[in-house]
């Protein structure tokens, strides 16, 4: 890299020479692809025909680096996962950077490297971007926005409003890893076995699942608000009840321990590499097996089923034979988790 400065200056966002150097020497070099290299005002893309999925998300996680991931990996995976759980094949990403003056270039470079790695894993191309630099105190290090476009294959219609009584609920892996990893790092909790973020692109897992099972009604990645919020969204949209077997929900011991200690409910803690699939009962075993064969679905489990109601209510069966309501998270549990 030819940039001489150690840290990002206000002038790097000025539109002048320094900004061009930064974009050319860092962003274009890292994200290396022909569309971006044209440096035009827009990325001009081939239209694939059929339906497009289009989504955007902004990442403000604190700290920028945490066990198992960083803001760059999150910014790619989060948007890829929003596309994938809509049934789309993610294709292109945009990225907008809001950089606080003084951010070390070494940090920025590490974030970009991480984005490059995640984008390669997810088979997406970063085709357009923008950089703004704000004065010290105007942001906190680095914020990233990504938007994504994906192609939705014919016949794929996924919606939280599609659930049918008798369907099975499958969770792709352990709950709460991301939220606990970030909060532990941010607050300096030194657990003897620290939780690792699960940030990962799930489009491969989704592709496998959709080709193995035709009765997939809905997919969603339970990020902020956790599993509880997603299940409540499904139950409300489909006007059905959902019953979850608490003992069947996979949770890592270190995450469980941290939740017990900090008073968090793992059902409310954010995930960044997990999805919930609602699948017709007959195909549920096939769907489960398919997910378990994938790197990001090894711990998948059938955790519950769709019931007649009462509509909109999610019920948890406890190990001691009682039930309780599983409500949506109210208020902010962990700010700036993604």
């Amino acid at each position: 890299m030819k940039i001489k400065e150690d840290a990002v200056l206000l002038a790097h966002g000025s539109g002048g020479k320094l900004m061009h150097d930064l974009i050319r020497e860092l962003f274009i070099e890292k994200f290396a692809n022909p569309v971006l290299a044209k440096e035009d005002d827009s990325a001009v893309l081939e239209v694939v025909g059929g339906r497009l999925a289009f989504t955007t998300d902004t990442y403000v996680v604190k700290p920028l680096f945490f066990p198992g991931g960083d803001i760059g990996r999150l910014a790619v995976c989060g948007t890829v996962n929003d596309l994938a759980t809509s049934g789309a094949t993610p294709k292109y990403l945009s990225c907008g950077f809001v950089i606080e003056e003084g951010l070390s270039l070494e940090v920025l470079e590490r974030v970009l490297d991480s984005m490059v790695e995640a984008a390669a894993e997810a088979w997406v191309t970063i085709v357009t971007g923008d950089t703004k630099v704000v004065e010290k105190g105007g942001a906190d290090g680095l914020f990233i926005n990504t938007a994504g476009i994906g192609a939705v294959p014919e016949g794929v219609v996924l919606s939280g409003a599609n659930l049918k009584v008798g369907d099975k609920i499958i969770l792709s892996g352990t709950l709460g890893d991301h939220g606990i990893a970030v909060i532990s790092k941010r607050e300096g909790f030194e657990f003897s076995s620290p939780a690792m973020s699960d940030a990962a692109p799930l489009n491969g897992l989704v592709a496998d699942l959709l080709s193995a099972a035709k009765s997939v009604r809905a997919l969603r990645d339970p990020t902020r608000g956790g599993l509880a919020s997603t299940l409540n969204e499904f139950a409300t949209a489909s006007k059905v009840g959902i019953e979850i077997d608490e003992a069947a929900v996979p949770i890592k011991p270190e995450v469980m321990a941290a939740c017990e200690m900090l008073g968090y409910d793992p059902f409310h803690v954010a995930n960044e590499g997990k999805l919930i699939a609602v699948v017709g009962a007959e195909e549920a075993p096939v769907a489960l097996e398919t997910m378990r064969r994938h790197l990001y679905g090894q711990d998948a489990a059938i955790i519950g089923k769709v019931t007649a109601g009462p509509p909109g209510r999610v019920i948890l069966k406890t190990p001691i034979g009682s039930t309780r309501i599983l409500d949506m998270l109210v208020g902010e549990q962990l700010p700036r988790i993604c």
């Binding site: 003992a247 406890t318 034979g321 009682s322 039930t323 309780r324 309501i325 409500d327």
Partner: protein, 366 residues
């Protein structure tokens, strides 16, 4: 997970439930005086599995709920004072005073920070010598020793910009006050596990002896609670009233002498104003004169607005066990966790929040 999963064991739970059914012959009311128990009982659906003869009441056990409105008003005014950085535990943020809350004041620009430990507040004080760092401490002996430690530590480190606004309370005399009020029939107390890890079992003895009410110190997992209830039922059925410890893996009869010594070193016993109950003699803790330099009340003077209680809210009666949450007129109607009216719905350990969140459809009325 070790030390969790075995205390949620379905077979053990069934065994204890069967024993309870075989033992409990008459209708009794048991009161828990710890917010963590309130949450654990609702969260695990305990009321559904115990015999109908046993009624569980929530008492004044939620630390932020029992904090008087005027004390919260005072803390809010302190937080708004120029140059003050207010620190507190997270459960205090949303609790409303008469007019505002920490959350609202933070959004309006007050410097209010959530800390996980009082030692973190000291660190903020060290890093910000030009600011006055105040820690707002509420609750019982689970947290008061850490506040005492912070004061001792601040003195040792020579910190001049750290002080505490201490509104800590002690539990056993409040239990006696409820019995003396005689508003509600209590046949046994589910005593707080973590408070008792500090104070031990002796402070409850007078309740068992003078009032004839059985007390069992209980842990927080489903198996703990079932076993604790069984121990209470056995006492009632056999006409005994003793202090027993179910939560033996954590609580020793003598408590934690080091923590108690620290409390006695820093705090003196005083009267305290409890929301819903009023002033109870000898249930508060105030900094001793030798620590006056760390007493926020001595260091700052604030003007207190007239206190007002939320309209229609039955938190006071709920904290005394006179009403169950769903017997409040506004429970689940104008008062929900999204739009809470009183502290019992705001705090995660509040009885109203626990009932609403976990078993608003399955509560047994009466």
């Amino acid at each position: 997970m070790k030390l969790v999963s075995e205390f949620r064991d379905p077979n053990l739970a069934k065994y204890l439930i069967d024993r309870l059914k075989a033992t409990s012959s008459r209708a009794i009311s048991l009161m828990e005086v710890c917010g963590t128990h309130t949450v654990a009982i609702s969260r695990n659906g305990m009321r559904q599995v115990i015999p109908e003869t046993i009624k569980l009441l929530s008492g004044p056990g939620c630390p932020v709920c029992v904090t008087a409105n005027s004390d919260i008003d005072y803390a809010i005014e302190l937080a708004k004072t120029d140059g003050v950085t207010m620190t507190t535990f997270g459960d205090m943020m949303k609790v409303p005073g008469s007019y505002s809350s920490f959350t609202k004041e933070k959004a309006a620009g007050a410097d209010i920070r959530v800390v996980y430990s009082t030692i973190d507040a000291l660190k903020i004080a060290e890093e910000n010598p030009d600011r006055e760092i105040v820690f707002f401490g509420v609750g019982f002996e689970t947290t008061s020793p850490t506040v005492a430690l912070s004061v001792v530590e601040a003195k040792k480190r020579g910190l001049k910009n750290y002080s505490v606004y201490a509104r800590h309370k002690v539990v056993p005399p409040a239990m006696a006050a409820l019995l003396s009020l005689g508003e509600v029939k209590i046949d046994g107390f589910i005593c707080p596990g973590h408070v008792s890890a500090v104070i031990g079992s002796a402070p409850y003895e007078f309740i068992a002896e003078d009032y004839g009410i059985p007390c069992v110190i209980v842990g927080f997992e489903p198996i703990d609670i079932l076993q604790g209830i069984l121990m209470l039922v056995e006492q009632v059925e056999s006409g005994r009233s003793e202090v027993e410890i179910q939560y033996k893996r954590t609580v020793r009869p003598e408590g934690n002498p080091a923590a108690v010594k620290l409390l006695n070193e820093v705090f003196k016993v005083t009267d305290a104003d409890w929301r819903g109950i009023g002033v109870i003699p000898a249930t508060g803790m105030a900094l001793k004169p030798e620590f006056a330099g760390f007493d926020a009340e001595k260091r700052f003077s604030v003007e207190l607005p007239p206190t007002r209680e939320p309209k229609g809210c039955a938190c006071g009666e709920i904290l005394r066990g006179v009403k169950l949450p769903y017997e409040c007129k506004i429970f689940g109607k104008s008062c929900t966790p999204e739009h809470p009216v009183g502290p019992c719905m705001v705090s995660t350990e509040g009885a109203c929040a626990a009932y609403y969140r976990y078993d608003r459809t399955s509560v047994k009325v009466g």
